[in-house]
């Protein structure tokens, strides 16, 4: 995890993405591939997998045997529509059409899976489990990606993209709330653990929030020191880079010894809940991880003030503090927000591992599921962690876009 974050911080957010979009008036070979893959998967792989109970493994059931013929026909029609839009040669209208059809395909697939589960529950009773099959995942991922790609062609405006994500996400949430999906084993797994889910999600956010509360001020300070003291810069970044190089689980592990020794010495720490395992070492380790991207972002941001602007500011009688707050920081804002995004996304992902040292969080479901061979539990944890990371990414991208337009419009 050396420099993924660092690398991207160095280039400003907007300039980083090269203009690679294909122009209007061309067909869309990628979409042809996606539709081909979707069609092949729907025909040859199981759409859902049905098992008599939670322990036994399921048998694949094809799309047309799992749901109503009407739903099958609708889904087939949508996939054909997606295929048609792939070979159209129009520009904007083609992409809008693709986006709408892809969104409908995604929602219909999810509805169909819910219906399949309800049909199984009616036929074989509530103990039978209906989990999602490979065909479902391929259709869902393919249409989701077709939607993302069409949106990327249509607009670079983050707010529009946010609205579309909110609409599609809201529709899925509405589906779930209506009970249409509640017979799926994933939903049942969730229902069984509704309370635990809430507290682990909260715990995950606390881990990330706690680490940010440490990493943002300390990392900013280190970045500022690196900026003001060129002599310390190399050693400072070498140390921070070293921390990022060591795998997260090893840092967690290495903190156990010193922290448990410390809490054995100081009973006060123990009463505060700080010991070798649990949330405290996780937050400390995550804080250490967050230092490099924060420090590098602050340093890169401050160092990016053009020399001519600094010269003019000094020559006009700004003191150093005024230069920092009125000139350097406002100019660095896009870079600062971008590094904030990278830190939040990275820590959200790393916090998953924290469950291994008893810190809880969404990782708890993943590792419990792995231990019990409970696929749906694994899915619940992994999909939630991915959704959380994506949501944080999207939110902070919008913030970065707002800051960038604010700075240049």
């Amino acid at each position: 995890m050396t420099s993924e974050s660092g690398l991207s911080v160095i280039s400003p957010p907007q300039a980083a993405a090269p203009q690679l979009r294909s122009g209007a008036g061309r067909s869309n070979p990628l979409l042809v591939l996606i539709v081909g893959g979707i069609a092949a998967a729907a025909m040859s792989l199981g759409f859902v997998s049905v098992a008599p109970n939670r322990i036994l493994s399921g048998k694949p059931v094809a799309l047309w045997s799992a749901v109503d013929p009407g739903v099958t026909a609708l889904l087939v029609a949508l996939i054909v529509g997606l295929g048609v839009s792939a070979v159209l040669r129009f520009g904007v209208w083609r992409d809008r059409f693709t986006a709408i059809i892809a969104a409908m395909t995604l929602l219909t697939t999810i509805t169909a899976a819910g219906q399949a589960a309800s049909l199984v529950a009616q036929a074989s009773g509530p103990i039978a489990r209906t989990s999602l099959g490979p065909a479902f995942w391929i259709i869902a991922a393919g249409s989701g990606f077709a939607l993302a790609d069409a949106m990327a062609r249509l607009t670079r405006n983050m707010f529009v993209q946010m609205v579309v994500v909110a609409i599609v996400g809201g529709a899925i949430a509405l589906l779930a709330a209506s009970g249409a999906l509640s017979d799926l084993s994933l939903a049942r797994e969730f229902a069984n653990r509704r309370e635990a889910y809430g507290s682990e999600l909260l715990r995950h956010l606390v881990l990330v929030g706690g680490a940010l509360a440490g990493a943002l001020p300390i990392g900013s300070l280190l970045g500022y020191v690196a900026f003001r003291r060129p002599k310390w810069r190399k050693a400072l970044f070498a140390i921070l880079n070293l921390i990022q190089t060591v795998p997260s689980i090893a840092i967690f592990g290495l903190l156990i010894g010193p922290l448990s020794a410390l809490s054995a010495w100081l009973p006060l720490l123990r009463t505060l809940g700080i010991g070798g395992i649990g949330a405290a070492p996780a937050i400390i380790a995550l804080t250490l991880y967050g230092l490099l991207p924060v420090a590098r972002g602050v340093f890169t941001g401050l160092a990016s003030t053009p020399p001519s602007v600094l010269d003019a500011a000094r020559g006009m009688g700004f003191d150093e503090r005024q230069i920092l707050w009125r000139v350097s920081i406002p100019l660095a804002l896009p870079i600062l927000v971008t590094s904030l995004r990278l830190v939040v996304v990275q820590l959200t992902g790393l916090a998953v591992v924290a469950a291994l040292i008893g810190a809880g969080g969404l990782g708890a479901f993943i590792f419990q599921g792995l231990g019990q061979t409970a696929t749906d539990l694994i899915l619940l944890g992994a999909l939630s962690a991915i959704a959380l990371a994506l949501a944080a990414d999207l939110l902070l991208r919008s913030l970065a876009a707002a800051v960038t337009t604010g700075a240049s419009a």
């Binding site: 995890m1 050396t2 420099s3 993924e4 690398l7 980083a16 090269p18 690679l20 979009r21 294909s22 061309r26 869309n28 070979p29 990628l30 490979p134 990606f145 993302a148 790609d149 990327a152 062609r153 880079n241 070293l242 190089t245 060591v246 795998p247 997260s248 689980i249 090893a250 840092i251 592990g253 290495l254 156990i256 010894g257 448990s260 070798g276 395992i277 996304v345 959200t348 992902g349 998953v352 591992v353 291994l356 040292i357 990782g363 993943i366 590792f367 599921g369 792995l370 696929t375 694994i378 899915l379 944890g381 992994a382 999909l383 962690a385 991915i386 990371a389 994506l390 944080a392 990414d393």
Partner: protein
């Protein structure tokens, strides 16, 4: 370290007197290290060939239509937590080394593709026009001008990918792969801090040593 650790039982016995077995013995540390390195090595080989290949493809005229989507995919994919990717591979292929390798490849590809595209598109116009001007073929231009100029950025992407994968492979122990993470996971579940420290030290050293090796490789380039 690898050679000395098997003889360190007295030290860990002294550090953790309450533990009946202070040294991890289920597999030799050498076996763990070799298995860990093999997983990362195999995955990295695939990642480098495939990642650079895809990066080159989408920056050629023929692959231009795929450049945008690949860019979008890499941006979305990099936000996925590596552990979640690893966990998702289990329902698909079961436990063992297979899900670990798949996760390592899937996750490791993104930085390499991203860096290859970034490196190839960041080349200034002048050398490319000069290459065309002296009559290099597109292949010649790619091999003699573009790839050498993009090499430092591509290498940085490979480095990120490999270091990332050393960490992800450690977590691979939770899905049944034999890696240096095995003592850590076993120590955590069996409340044996000695195992945890032994594994953490080795894997930390492994990652840092690899990182330093990349440092030297960058110097050579």
């Amino acid at each position: 370290m690898l050679a000395l650790l098997p003889y360190s039982a007295p030290i860990f016995g002294w550090l953790f007197p309450e533990l009946p077995r202070p040294l991890y013995t289920r597999a030799s540390f050498l076996d763990l290290a070799v298995s860990h390195a093999a997983l990362v090595g195999m995955a990295s080989l695939v990642v480098i060939t495939l990642g650079i290949g895809i990066g080159i493809f989408v920056t050629r005229p023929i692959g231009r239509d795929f450049a945008g989507p690949v860019d979008t995919l890499a941006a979305i994919g990099q936000t996925f937590p590596p552990t979640a990717v690893l966990a998702l591979a289990v329902p698909a292929v079961g436990y063992g080394s297979a899900p670990t390798i798949i996760a390592l490849i899937a996750y490791g590809l993104l930085p390499v593709i991203g860096a290859t595209i970034a490196g190839l598109t960041a080349i200034p116009r002048a050398p490319i026009e000069a290459a065309d001007g002296i009559g290099l073929s597109p292949q010649g231009r790619l091999l003699k001008v573009e790839l050498p100029l993009a090499a430092p950025i591509i290498l940085a992407g490979v480095r990120t990918s490999v270091i990332l994968n050393i960490g992800t492979a450690t977590i691979g122990s939770t899905v049944g792969a034999l890696t240096l993470g095995s003592p850590i996971i076993e120590g955590l579940s069996g409340s044996n801090p000695a195992y945890v420290i032994q594994g953490a030290l080795l894997v930390g050293l492994f990652a840092v040593a690899t990182d330093l090796w990349f440092d030297e490789l960058e110097q050579v380039l």
